[in-house]
Each structure stands twice: as C-alpha cells, then as structure tokens.
Symmetry: none
Subunit: 403 residues, 2 copies
C-alpha cells in the first residue's frame, strides 16, 4: 500500500465539530453484462447517485492491492484506514467479534460449521443442509457438555449452520490448521500445529472434535463439526486513539458489527433493512462524528450471480440517498468493500467505485456513478487506506504537515 503512514495521519488529527458518513455498499463493483456491455451500476437507474456524482469527486479504490480479491474483513479494514496486509484478522476472531463474545488475550477462537458425514465419516454436506439457527442453537447447547482437561470451551450459535468455538486456558496457540477440507467426499482433517508450541492446543481441539462427533452421532443431518480460521484476539488501535473520532457503526449483520468493533466503533441497534439503518443514523446524528453505514444486499445478489437483483438493489439504495443527505454530513462517501460482479458470482479483484462528497471537493467532470465514470474520476486509482486521510481532510480534522 503506497498510502501515507497511519502514524503521520494520526499525528495530524485535530478536533473539529464535523460529521463523516462512510457508506459501504457491499460488493459494489461489477462487470458488464455480456448482452448489454453495461455493468450493474451502469444498468441501474440511479438519479440521486448521478446527481451526487456531478458535485463530487470520484475514483477507483483497490481494497488490498492490485489483483487481490478481498474477503469482507480486509475489504472493510482498508476503508477504516488499517492496512489489511499488516492487520490480518482470522475468521474465528471475526466470528467472536460479530457475536460480541468478550475474547480475552490468550483465547483461541474458531469458526465452526455443523456438517453431515456418511457412515465412513466422509463429508456429504459442509453445511448440513443449511440447518436453521434454532437447530444450531440446540446443538450448541449439547456441545457445551464437552469438558477438556486444561481448557474451558465456549460454544455459541451464529446464523444458520455456523457456530463459534472459543477455548480458554494456559499456553494455548492459534497456529493450527483447519479441520474443514473445504470440499466433500473426504473426512474432516485432524487439526495440526503450524508451530511446535501449538501442539498441545491441537491435541485439545482434536479431543473437542472427537467428543462433539460422539454427541452428534445420531443427529440428522448435522452429525459432525468442521472448524477453521483459528485465531487469537486481534489488537488494533481504535479510531478514537488514532484520530480522536467518536465512531459508530450501523449494520444489520453480525460480522460487520465485529469489524466495526475492531476499529473501536460503537455498534448502534438498528432494524433489518436499510430504511431502518438510515433512521438509526438520523436519530444518532448528533452523538457521533463518524458513521459507518453498511448496505449488505448487493453483495449477496452478486454472489448469487443475479445481475437483475443486484441492479434492483442498487436502485433501492439510490432511493435512500436523499435521506443520507438530510443528515447533513460534512463528508459523505459512497464506497464498497470489494467488487462482486454478478457475471462472476463471487468477490473479485476489480477496483471499487468510490465517491466523495463534501463542500471542499474539487468536482471532476463525471456526471454518473459507475465503474467507467470512476475510471475518469479526479481521485484516480488509489489504495483503500487513502480513504481515511481523505475523509478526515475534507472534514477539517487534519492539521497542516510541517511549517
């Protein structure tokens, strides 16, 4: 990342009674539909975003680096100003954060799946037919009966077939391989240490798995567990420590709450749709000076390969732009954590459209909000870690560097 060092930006931070709203449209970037040659954003009717673009500065943002396809974690951390290569967060830690589980130093967390295995112990379904959260919660309650000498185990349900495992005890290490082979037709893999000091932890986790499989043996379809992403509690300086911000997060899904907490944001209670999120923003507008507002649904449509639904969801977002402006942010950013082109049905490495609106921008000549407009934008192509100094600057929250 070629961006200015966080330490330099942090050293310039000053208090200023201004408000930043960073809106993250998940999986924002797309690719042209083979029939029309137009991307999701280019196809969508987005009059409010287009009007906003005309008075804003646009650009294309690389979340992690050119050519790198980001997961949700690194995609967000970059926009929050943290170099995602320097700050790598394991899936287990992300799950714990999402559930607001109070991970302590030394704890080891893993993301679990309830899965189905056949009589030979080979995986037939890595998600156990996507069992509902209610069943998962009952199974988690049964797994809490597991006792491992030398470690306390916490098992908490996430959404659907997902759960969180946390082990707490002396001398644990997260340097462990996954048991999830990420494919079917094979048995779950034994957990192995990646470093010698993790050998003891590997043994304890394998004991947990063996006991779990005994407990689940007569269950259908969820008769096995898969564990992956072993991680310890990550430690990032908060946005308050770095820039003196009072940051708040508005998001529907737990994993984004977890990411926001990593950055030291207060997670605000909200509803289950974007109208509720915008209402939460309006209600709390005076209490915080940095809001991260997350719009999830575009990514899901992209991952499903549903071009038309992604278009419709971009149009639905567009309808909320006036309400975002009504909050009178001094800086309003419309960004994405990564691209999810519907034609690929997956996250991709393509740079992500970025729009910055503030009284102090030099508007470029773009009059629409799209990938191609952003290619011509005044911000050019830049690493995501540039977003935070840009937002702070346009909010008047950075002092002069040098005399």
């Amino acid at each position: 990342m070629g961006a200015i060092a966080t330490e330099v930006v942090s050293g310039l931070a000053i208090a200023q009674d201004t408000r930043i709203v960073l809106t993250v449209i998940d999986g924002l970037g797309g690719l042209p539909h083979p029939k029309t040659g137009q991307s999701e954003l280019e196809t969508a009717r987005t009059p409010h975003l287009d009007k906003l673009a005309a008075g804003s500065v646009l650009g294309l943002c690389d979340p992690v680096g050119v050519g790198i396809t980001p997961g949700s974690g690194p995609g967000h951390l970059g926009l929050f100003g943290y170099d995602p290569v320097r700050h790598q967060v394991g899936r287990g830690a992300l799950s714990a954060l999402g559930l607001n589980f109070p991970l302590q130093p030394g704890d080891v967390a893993a993301r679990g799946n309830f899965a189905a295995v056949d009589a030979q112990g080979c995986i037939t379904d890595r998600r156990a037919g996507r069992i509902p959260t209610e069943l998962s919660a009952k199974l988690c309650a049964r797994l809490r009966a597991i006792t491992i000498p030398g470690a306390e185990c916490f098992v908490q349900p996430e959404t659907g077939y997902r759960f969180l495992l946390v082990m707490r005890g002396a001398g644990l290490s997260a340097a462990l391989t996954d048991s999830d082979p990420q494919t079917t037709g094979q048995p779950p893999r034994p957990i192995r240490p990646q470093q010698p000091e993790a050998a003891h932890t590997a043994e304890l986790v394998n004991q947990f798995i063996a006991q779990a499989h005994r407990i689940l043996t007569d269950e259908r379809p969820a008769n096995a567990v898969l564990l992956r992403g072993f991680a310890e509690r990550p430690s990032l300086p908060s946005l308050t420590e770095l820039y003196g911000l009072r940051p708040a997060a508005i998001a529907v899904y737990p994993v984004y709450h977890g990411l926001a907490r990593l950055a030291g944001m207060t997670v605000l209670d909200t509803g289950t749709d974007f109208a509720a999120e915008v209402e939460t923003l309006r209600k709390h507008r005076a209490e915080y000076d940095f809001f991260y507002v997350h719009y999830k649904w575009t990514d899901s449509a992209g991952e499903d390969g549903d071009f038309d639904r992604k278009v419709a969801l971009l149009e639905a977002f567009d309808a909320h732009v006036p309400a975002l402006l009504d909050v009178e942010p001094d800086v309003l950013v419309i960004a994405g954590d990564h691209s999810t082109p519907a034609v690929m049905g997956a996250h991709s490495w393509h740079p992500v459209p970025f729009l910055l609106h503030a009284k102090t921008v030099f508007p470029d000549q773009t009059t629409t909000f799209s990938e191609r407009a952003c290619m011509q934008g005044g911000l050019g192509r830049f690493p995501a870690t540039d977003a935070m100094p840009l937002m702070l600057a346009h909010a008047g929250k950075l002092a002069k560097f040098g005399s």
Copy 2:
C-alpha cells in the same frame, strides 16, 4: 514501489488451467514527432491493436519508478513481478545468463567489449568498428591462453564485439569498478576495488587485462578489451516457486534469454524473427501456462533515432496480433520494458503503454493503443510490479485474501 508484497501474492497462488501471454515490445513508449505532434504509436497504423484496445483495459506502467530510466534488466524484471530495486542484476551476470553459462556461487562475471586503442593507449573506438562475431570468437579463443594464478578464466564470445569474462576461484568479489570509461580519447581505467575484500580480485582482473593487451597488441582494429558490470550470480525465487507457474520464454536475443532464466523460465528454441516467435508460441501453447514473448526491433529503431523505422516496426507487430489471439490466451498483455522515444534516441523514464485483455476485464473507453489512450485507461498509472498480480488475477490463479 507501492505494489502489494510479492509474499502476499505468492501465498494466494492457486493452480488453474489457464494461459497467460505477456508480450513485451522493447522500448514501446515514444514521444511526439516535432513536426506532427504524434508519437510513434500514434503515427503507426495499428488496426488490430486498436480493436484489441476497445475490448481491453489500458494504463501507463512505470518500470522502476517515476522518473527512472530503466535498462533492459530492470525493465523486464518489474514485468515479471520482481521489484527491480530489490533485485539488481549486474551486466556481467546478465551476459552469463544470456549465454547460458553455468555461473556458480562465488564466480565473478563481467561484460567485455573488444575495443580499439591508439599508440598512446587511448580508446579510439569502444566497439572496435563493431567487429563481427566470427572475429570476436577467434580473439576469445586466443584470450583463453591467459593464465592467472589463483583463478580460472572463462572467455566466451557474445554477438559482435561483445564477450563474457568469468573468473572462478577462492575469495573473489564482484565489488569492482569498470575499466570501460564509456568514452573515447582516454585509456581504459585500471580496475579498482569498491570494498577492501575485493582488492585481490581487482589485482587478478588487472593481470588478465594486461595479458589480454599483450596478446592483442598486433590485432587491428580490436587491440584492447574493456570490462564492465562485474557481478556475481543473482538468486531470484522462480515464478514456479512463487506462483506455481510453468513459464516459458520466446525471444531472439541472448540477453532476454538470460533475464527469463533468472525468473526460472524455460527458454524455447525459436527463429530469428517475430513470425518464428509466434509460431513457437503456437507450437508449445499446451505445455506452459505463462509465456513471455519478446519483440526487440522497436527498441533498436528508437535507439537509432529512426522514428519512421520504429513506426514501421510497430505496424509490423500489429500484423501479428491476430496470430497471438489465435493461441487463445486467457490473459494477453501487450507491454513494454521501457520507453525508447526515437526523438531522444535512447531509453527514457516515460511511463510505458500497457494493455490487458481477458474475459474478466472491465473495458475502459479507449479505442486506440497509444500513450495518450493509456493516460485515460482504466488501469491508471501503476508500477510494473502490479502487472504480475493483475495477470494472475485475470487468469483465475489467485485465491481470495482473508475472509
């Protein structure tokens, strides 16, 4: 270089049955002709490249860094994904690689010129009237009679007046100054150590030069040798180690074979023109998944200051574009190792046009292939080391970063 760390990209590499073709047009970038205001690329009629540009993403590539004029070595290494500042390869090592000389650890290699000196020992021609390879080979055979106590000497002819000197022995060091003053009217300079531990090697090389001059004293025009670019064997991780690629190189001239071998590429036998190179590519298309194909002649025309010849050579390249596409590369890149504007008659620091064609590109709005079109391209301006992650990503050879 602001690019993502090689280690990160390497860690994401996955196997995928796709093919990358990286075409390097040597000295591709140019400058406007003072009479027409159009560069070599803008003047050339390149219908195939222009058509390709319309379905591709373009940009401007800095081989080493903004303002830095690259030699052939760094210009290529950047495109191969190696930071050319971190991996500096001496001219002597490059010569050895080009001749496929088995340089061993501890060997010291230098690039030699046969030159002409007058009765006072002052250089009258640094290239001895560009003597032919046949004469150079005979002179090299005579120089092999030289014996130096404590070191074995290898002398091998390159093309024309060029030769390679390798010294092998205990305690040698390549930290030596050149004997070639890079100008006429002066005597060759004595070799001096750049570090104290190289004093012994300097003495041995000066003995070699003294003996060579005695042997050549009655030769005309080549009665002297000039040595430069003392270097030891460089060690780069191969593209196979880094990314699991099976890489092959197709180039006419030895120095490019040497650069390709540095990156661990297999050098394929080919003919003496670009048609032969494309035929070699076609023939071996199924055996490798990364091809570096080199087009030399544009650079020579640029160095000769021959604007019209460079234009004609760009047009000649253009005619081969359909044959390159016939190989059905999943990723086709048209790049250059550096600019060689004919109006300057030399390599230059100007950023180099870059075109990437793949099913997964978001085509920008450019419809021609030229410096000015690339200024408007969707890739923006980027360091050459971004090229490798870009090519790998578009070939589906990189996994997601983080969850």
